[in-house]
């Protein structure tokens, strides 16, 4: 117990970095994913093709490769990011691609007939999107988004490769230093607690959207 209390501050500091990366990625990649999803459905074909290519690249290559590419690769051509920023850039663009695909599916699921009805009522496309389409899309995509959000917490451990002091690194450093499994078990426990919190939040949000069928 004394040992746990001793290593807890460094683990909590790692947790703080993990949560920070998680939160920034989520706040940026969800709106970006919605925008990209709208772009994927655009009648302006070059934009849709470009975004298709982007989604294919992001989903078709490992996130680890993308992290290494942004932090270690881009400096070769003169684009240098600080460690944490590099992680944010790689995570945001990777997750935005997954969210774009999820939202594209959600947008397709809201019937064209509803958009027609809205247009005949004199609502603009923006108003239709805001008041009719997006609220329905959010309900449709919630389970898939929740899955990705849970993956994101776990994927954030990949920043280990950039030397960022996240939760996993904090535990690994302590295990290597003190030759004990306790820090790694604690790391696992903290991930489980974080994911339990997110799962609870997912259920609350799903309940909030269950007022209609």
């Amino acid at each position: 117990m004394k040992y746990i209390i001793q290593i807890l501050p460094s683990l909590l500091n790692g947790t703080r970095i993990t949560i920070l990366l998680f939160a920034i990625t989520l706040v940026l990649s969800i709106p970006l994913g919605i925008l990209f999803a709208l772009g994927l459905r655009s009648k302006f074909k070059p934009l849709a093709i470009l975004l298709d290519l982007y989604v294919w690249l992001m989903r078709g290559t490992p996130l680890l490769l993308q992290l290494i590419f942004v932090f270690y690769g881009l400096p070769i051509i003169g684009i240098v990011f600080e460690r944490f920023t590099a992680a944010v850039v790689a995570f945001v663009f990777n997750y935005a691609a997954y969210f774009a695909e999820i939202f594209r599916g959600g947008l397709q699921a809201v019937s064209h007939e509803q958009r027609e009805a809205a247009a005949l009522l004199g609502l603009s496309r923006g108003q239709t999107l805001r008041f009719i389409v997006l609220p329905q899309v959010i309900k449709i995509v919630l389970p898939s988004i929740s899955n990705e959000v849970i993956n994101l917490i776990k994927d954030s451990s990949l920043v280990y490769v950039l030397g960022i002091g996240d939760l996993l690194r904090a535990g690994n450093v302590a295990t290597a230093r003190d030759v004990t499994l306790v820090p790694l078990l604690m790391v696992g426990l903290i991930y489980l607690i974080l994911i339990a919190g997110l799962t609870y939040l997912q259920k609350v949000i799903e309940r909030r959207f269950s007022y209609y069928e």
Binding site: Q114, L120, L121, G122, L123, Q127, I132, Q136
Partner: protein, 215 residues
């Protein structure tokens, strides 16, 4: 019978033609909808009645022909004036909005009415259509007849010059059907022009001032 001298056309379709995938849907349609009339467009299924209605609503382009509204050349794809309202066959209520929100969304957002004014007007319509107890319910909680009346209220609140119905009786039982017929007559008494697309000849005979046969 209407007095011929007082009948003025509000909507005129001239030589409307529409083909789809090389199939002629309709050709050289000439049609006048008189003010305060109930005009029914009848004909068997697949004859192009709904497509004709969709062109009037600006949802389908025509290959040729012209539209006039109250004597002026009219672009049906411009929905900003809300001159023509529609009650769809499947009602198309917004499932994420309750009855009151379904009705007040367009007046508040598109017509920039104050929420208080829109709600007041919506409540008047809900009372008239016997829907007051349902004002906070969601579409999935309503019967077919109730959904249709919400769709009617949603169209009426925008005060259209013409109210159109696509197959208004197709999903209703006989008692609901004649309630709708009575409703249409009440609207007519209040000066509303109505256009009904239906394959139900009996219903059309009962309610119409004029019938346009297709096919």
């Amino acid at each position: 019978m209407n007095n011929v001298a007082t009948r003025t056309p509000i909507l005129e379709l001239t030589n409307l033609s529409k083909t789809f995938a090389n199939k002629v849907i309709f050709k050289n349609i000439n049609l006048q909808v008189m003010k305060n009339d109930i005009l029914s467009i009848v004909g068997p299924s697949g004859v192009g009645k709904t497509t004709l209605l969709r062109t009037i609503l600006g949802l389908e382009p025509v290959d040729s022909g012209s539209f006039k509204f109250a004597g002026q050349v009219f672009d049906p794809t411009d929905h900003s004036q809300n001159q023509i309202g529609i009650v769809f066959q499947d009602y198309r209520l917004f499932p994420n909005l309750n009855v009151l929100e379904n009705i007040t969304l367009a007046p508040i957002q598109a017509q920039k009415q104050t929420p208080a004014a829109a709600v007041q007007q919506a409540d008047r319509l809900l009372e008239f259509l016997k829907l007051t107890p349902q004002r906070k319910l969601y579409p999935f909680q309503l019967s077919g007849g109730q959904k249709q009346r919400v769709a009617i209220a949603r169209a009426l609140i925008l005060e259209p010059q013409i109210l159109c119905y696509d197959e208004p009786t197709s999903a209703l039982d006989s008692s609901n059907k004649w309630q709708v017929a009575n409703l249409l007559r009440q609207f007519q008494k209040q000066g509303m022009t109505q256009l009904v697309v239906t394959h139900d000849d009996q219903f059309a005979q009962k309610i119409s001032s004029d019938i346009f046969q297709m096919g």
